[in-house]
Each structure stands twice: as C-alpha cells, then as structure tokens.
Symmetry: C2
Subunit: 464 residues, 2 copies
C-alpha cells in the first residue's frame, strides 16, 4: 500500500484520533490511523479508564467498611494490590481490543509506530512495528495528545518518582506518598491510595485543591479529604526533592515555613505538555501557541490539509472534548456538516466525594461582571441520599439574574459525575433554571437535587 | 383556633399533601395539613424512602460478594435482618422529622388525625390525636393517596400474607416468599429478598414482568432475575391461596398447567386503590372516576374550592408526579401561575439492574401509528461500565422519524434511575436526538451511553 492515496491519515489513536478515524470510516473514507503504542491512547490505556477501575476498587473497600451501618456484618477487606492493579490493566486491555475491533468494523487501517509528517500530504512511520510505512494522503489529522509534565532534574524512575502513567502500573502499594499537584489526577490518586492504606500527603501550590473548580467545591473536598485522613497541603511549594535508596526527602514550603517530609514515593500530577517531539519534519512549520498546534474553526492548522484535534490543540485536555473536536473536524473536512468549536463541556473528578461541573464558577461570573443568582441544594435534604447513606455534598447553580439561563453548575457528592449530564444538556440547549425546575424528576433520586437547586434560586424549593 | 378561616386545608401529608402545604406556606398563606399517620405519607414512611434503604443494603451485599473480582478478599457478609429493617425505619423516621421541620419553617399548621370534608369549606378531624378540630377554609386540597390493593377473602396478617406496607416492617426474614404482581414494588422486593437469601417466586398474570415498561426491558430484567436465582413466572395466575399455621399453599396456573407452591409468606403487590373511605360526608358528592376524584385542569374537583392532587386523582401513582401536581394546584389556586397538568414524567424501578423510562414504549409508538426510529447503546460498549464491572443493560431511545424529537427512552442497568433525568429534561424541552448527540458528555461516565444511543439512531455512534 506504499503509494496509495488516503482520504485521511490520523496520527494518534487516543480519544481524538480513534474517533476521527472511526468517523471517517463511517463516512466510507479510506482512512489510516497510526498509534505509537496501543489503540485508545493515554485515556484508555493510561488514564481515564484504568484509573476508574482502581477508583471502583477503592469504593468497594469503602462500601465494605460501611456495611455495618446497614446491618451487614463482614470482616475487614484485604486488598491484594497487585490484583487490583492487574484488573485495571485487564480492563484497559479489553477496551483497547474494543477499539481495534471498531477499527476493523469501520475499515480503518490501523498501524503501529511513530508517525512523522514529512511534507504536507506525506506521512511516514519512522519508528516502531510498522516502521517504513509511507502514506500519501489528502488530509492529515494530528491527534498525538499530551504527556505528563515532569520536574526538571527529577528522574521518573517508576518506583520513587512517578507520573500517573507509572502509577497506573505500580505492582506494590507504596506505604507513603507525596502527591504533587491537586488537580483531578492528583486528588483521584489521593483518594485511591489513602483508602487502601497509603499514608498520603496531597500538595498544591495554589490556594486550594481542585483549583479550577468553584471555591465552595474545593472547600468541601478539602474537608472530606481531611476527614478521610489525607494530609492536605494547599499554598505549599515543594523544594529540594532528594531521591534516596529507599525513600524520597522533600521540603514543603508554605509562606516562610519549611517542613521536611520523607515518603516512599512521589507522584507528579502537575499538568501535561504536548506530544510534538519528532512529529513534524523541519520542512513542516505549523503555527504553534505555547507548544500547542493552532487551528482555525475547522480544526485546520496553518498548513491546509493538516488538521489537529484533542489535547494537542491545548486545554481543557479532556477526553470527551477531544472526541467531540475530532468528530467535528472530520465532519467538516468531508463536508458532512459545518464543524463546531467546543463551548459547553463538563469536567469530572472521580475521587470520593465525586466532583462535576460545567460552565462558570461563581468567581468567574463575578469577574466577568455578570449579574447572577445562585441556587443550592444540600444532599442532606435528599431522601435518596439519606436512604443510601450519602448525605454529604451539594449542588450549586449559577443562573443569569435576568433570564435565568444556566451559566454554571457545580456538584460534589455521590454520583456527581453522572448527574452533571442533565445540566450540561441544559446549558448547551440554553435552558433556564425554570426549565429544570418545571421538569418532573424521579423520586427518590439524587437527581431531584438538580431540580431543587434550580427551584431554590426562586425560593421555591420544597425540601429546604 | 376552632373557627379561624384558613386559606387552605390540606388533607393528607404525603408527597402531594406536604408539598401543597409547604408551597402555600412559602406563599405566606394560612395553611393547615392534616395527616392520619405521619408527615411524609406512604412514600416517605411506607414506600419509596424506606424501600431504598433496604435496596441499598442488598446492593452492598452484592458489592461485597463481587469484591473478589476486584482483587479484594473479604468473608461472606452476614446480614442482620432486623438491623437492616431497623435502619430503614430510622431513615423513614429521620425524613418524616424533616417534613415536620419544613412545616414549622414554612408556618404550616400540622394536625394528626383523620379528616373529613363535612361540607364544602368545612373540614373536621373525626379520629386520631387531634380529633374534634374544626377548620373553616376557603380551599380544601384532598391528597389522601392510595393504599395497597388486597385480594378478596385473603386476610393480610403481616406474617404469612403481607402488602408492601407490612413487608417494610418485617422483623424476621422469610425463608421463602411468593410475590404476586411484578410491577415496580414486586420486583424491588424480589431483588431485595432474593439477594438476602429468601427463596423467591415472582408471579405476574400478564405476559411479562414490569409490564408497563418497554418489552425489551422486561426481557432483560427477566433474564437478569433468572440469573440471580429468582423463580420468575409471567402469564401465571394464583388460585386457591390457603394460609396454614406455618406456611401458605397456593396454585400457580399457567394456561392449562397447574402447579402447587408452598411458601412461608405471600406478598401482594397487585396495585393500589384510592383512600377515600370516610373522607367525604354524604353531603359532599364529588364526581369520581373508577374510585378516583375527577379534577379539571386547575386540579379542582366538581365542587369549587375542593381540589385534589396526587394518587387520589388516579394514575400514574408516582410520588414525583403527586408533588408536581400539588405545587401546580397551589400555584393555580392562589393565582401565582397557571397550573400545568402532567405530560412528561419518569418512571423508575430500583431493583438491580435498575430500570428507568420516560415517554412512549416502542409498542405504544407503533400502536399510535407514529413513525419513529430507534437508537440503542449497550453498556458493554461503555468504558465506564466495564471499568466498574457493570456491563449489563442498555439504553433504548424512541425518536420521531421526521424531526428527531425524543418520544421515549428506556434504560436498564447500573444507575438507570439517575441517568433518566437528562432524557426527561430533553423530552420536556422538546429537544431532539441531535441535541443530545451534540452535547458533550463526560468521559468516562455511564451517561455517555445516552449520547451514543442518540447518535446510533443516525448511525453516528462512535463506540458500537
């Protein structure tokens, strides 16, 4: 197939890449997808999916521990850490096979190796299993995503120093860990490891953990984590990291206070950076913005015919946003539909309590000078939440003060990551608080809180 | 307060009654609520809420049993049945106190006893704690709800023969049970008791269990229940029920086959009937329809000033519908807003797997001669479902063939009862499959299946 011309060559097999390839396949296009490692990319193999398997295991441990309060006697759970991790790897493997199946089903030609755009219209595999493969293509989609950021001078050895990637392949549970960075990945690992018995210190340079979330959400998670026994350290910098034979020593610096910490392992969860190394030959010069590929409203880069979608075009670095962008880009490049850029999307954090949000935080609404009103509902007033012993957390809504459009929504508590879907649809469809309030929600469910939070903005909530 | 005139007297303190009273209180009205038993009514004391506490206990037992597959070793759970039931009663008690608190907060005067409408504008308490209390009122709201139907000639003794009410107060777990009627209540008890080790026979006269749901949902639940070890008997009538000293004997009749069954206990879950006994003096003659109070679009009965809402005005006998109706009625009677009648509402069944639906089943769409298309997505193709070991079940959508409006949605599987909320909002707001498909859903969540089911109707689902 050396000199065949493809309709589309996709570089990267993650949530943007595989979705682009499958969508092009659905449209009957001749499409190849080149993935360096395994179909599914980071999300499926080293991110979203395997981490959810781990978090579920931690949740089961929590459930077993609280069984007594339901009248169920059971011994203390014994966690076989290697098995927990092994199941997570199996889940990732199963899902990766699923993507490979979808490739065959949609006639996507799948290649393994590191691809390079040699000149516009030519892609070569320069490393890996299918090295030497050469594609002529009318369209190229770059979807190589991001990788975990590292600290300069600190070697990631997979034992004492890890990123999320190595952490998802741990064989032995660390006795203690310092997690540097309290965004979604940091707090998910903090919940998981702490629940399984690792002494966990969670360190965040900014004012509060999960700093992109609404302030009240950060406060609530901070309280919950402290109660769970996690040592939560906001406003704290890490200095002098020294990796020894059996442990890592580091300094925690908060204002003018300095404290020593010694842990078995350090996890770096300090953000991501673009995977562009070796991607473009020197002849291919794309406009970039802080390391990310700049694209127009059709997801096309500064060179016609070279498209990009997903993490490689910059924040918010979310799998579901990546998939959406990729499908839009493909619809656009083949003239199926006018591609849309992303406006409304949810963000989810799967620690316990779960966090989910969409749209503006209250602080952002204020900064933007928007007149808003707030609706709230605590799960302690929800019959379902009390019945299932999950009365912690709340729903907070930001509504436009004049017309009541949903501007932002923030949920912390059981099932938050599933509940947010309704609000995302509402915000996307430009519905109002009144639309949500006047929709009958099933009783008894946690989702009633979504309705009552909307009602509360008009002082019409029945249950508070 | 014998001869004061009230703005509103509400008879019944369940989801319709307490909501009506609280809403009137919010509006600053002088309102009384008369409840025969306890604030919260059947739903909160003997229905939705305590049953969810029981079902959660069963779920925890299931979780413990499947812990091993996650790499967590733990002994077989020992269920203290009395404690499980006791917790359920405590939850009901706590929620009832919550309603009493809301009454005080909203200045609702709360009375306990059996109320009777003596003449229009006069309500008396004729039995119970506050017997003899006499209300002059401009408006009366009847919200006395329903009670479980019984079989003629079969005495409910709370030991060998129960309705859901007695079943929620069981002290001892029956070794075997025949559940007559496989609607929501029947299947919820079947799941709960079978999981805890009761030999369970589930009997349904109609063609299939959960007969109001989509046919495919009934089939899926039937399969799941059989796998759980429940003896599922559709198309089966019960005859010759004979209550002995230690057991109940009955005949199961299917077509021309007759089979004997001997069980410790029979649970009747064969529907409900209106609570109207003693409610109206002979001078107050309301138009009725098959035992239910007929109301107009303002929830007003055939006698001006007498309103009714909730189960007492007939199907669908759902708490959330009752609350909605009551609030609408109160808004209308005090001129706050034009009351709306119920059009779109979810139905939920909290067995495992859970079931949730809204709008038309496929059969109904066919019967109505509607041109529709079907969207589907199996949870086995959902990364989140696989990661949390809940790959069973599916989403099925009925969309209008021309414009794509959502006409019906059916979900069976983990979390179905929370997931349905998004579809209810979509149907209520007259959104289309395309609106749902083009809304970014968080990855990885079960709610992605809602989007993919919509996409599949247009052959654009990525993951199947």
């Amino acid at each position: 197939m050396a000199s065949e011309t493809y309709d589309l060559v996709v570089i990267g097999g993650g949530p943007a890449g595989y979705a682009a390839a499958i969508r092009a396949g659905q449209l009957g296009k001749k499409v190849a997808c080149v993935e360096y490692e395994r179909a599914g990319g980071t999300c499926l193999n080293w991110g979203c999916i395997p981490s959810k398997a781990l978090l579920k295991a931690a949740e089961i441990v929590s459930h077993i521990r609280e069984a007594k309060s339901f009248g169920i006697a059971v011994g203390e759970p014994e966690v076989d850490f290697a098995k927990v991790m092994g199941r997570s790897r199996n889940v990732a493997d199963q899902m990766a096979k699923g993507i490979e199946f979808l490739f065959r089903k949609n006639k996507v030609e799948y290649f393994v190796g590191r691809a390079r755009v040699t000149v516009p219209g030519i892609v070569e595999i320069v490393e890996g299993r299918d090295k030497g493969t050469f594609f002529k293509t009318d369209r190229t989609m770059i979807a190589t995503g991001c990788k975990a950021r590292r600290l300069p001078g600190l070697k990631v050895d997979g034992k004492h120093v890890m990123t999320s990637r190595e952490a998802l392949a741990m064989k032995v549970q660390p006795k203690s860990i310092a997690i540097i960075g309290a965004g979604a990945i940091g707090v998910e690992f903090a919940y998981f490891l702490n629940t399984l018995g690792t002494k966990t210190t969670l360190i965040e340079m900014l004012d509060r953990i999960v700093p992109v979330e609404d302030e009240e959400i950060s406060e609530a998670l901070h309280r919950a984590f402290k109660k769970q026994g996690i040592d939560v350290r906001p406003k704290t910098k890490v200095e002098n990291i020294k990796v020894g034979k059996d442990s890592v020593k580091l300094d925690l610096v908060k204002g003018d206070k300095r404290e020593n910490l010694e842990v078995e392992t350090v996890l770096l969860s300090i953000g991501v950076e673009a995977n562009t190394e070796g991607l473009l030959s020197p002849r291919v010069r794309l406009d970039m913005d802080r390391g990310y590929i700049k694209v127009n409203d059709r997801y096309e880069s500064s060179i016609p015919g070279i498209f990009a979608a997903g993490d490689i075009i910059g924040p918010p670095w979310l799998a579901h946003v990546a998939t959406y962008e990729a499908v839009q880009a493909v619809n656009g490049m083949f003239g199926v539909a006018k591609p849309k850029r992303v406006t409304t999307y949810p963000g989810c954090t799967y620690c316990n309590p779960q966090i989910a949000s969409v749209g503006l935080t209250e602080v952002k609404a204020k900064e933007n000078g928007i007149k808003y009103k707030v609706g709230r509902f605590p799960f302690s007033a929800s019959g379902k939440a009390v019945a299932i012993n999950q009365p912690n957390g709340f729903v907070k809504l930001i509504l436009d003060a004049h017309h009541g459009e949903l501007l932002g929504a923030h949920i912390i508590g059981e099932n938050a990551t599933e509940l947010i879907g309704e609000y995302v649809l509402a915000e996307k469809a430009e519905l109002t608080g009144e639309d949500i309030h006047s929709t009958i929600h099933a009783h008894p469910t946690m989702s009633e809180a979504l309705m009552e939070a909307a009602a509360s903005a008009y002082d019409e909530a029945i249950h508070i």
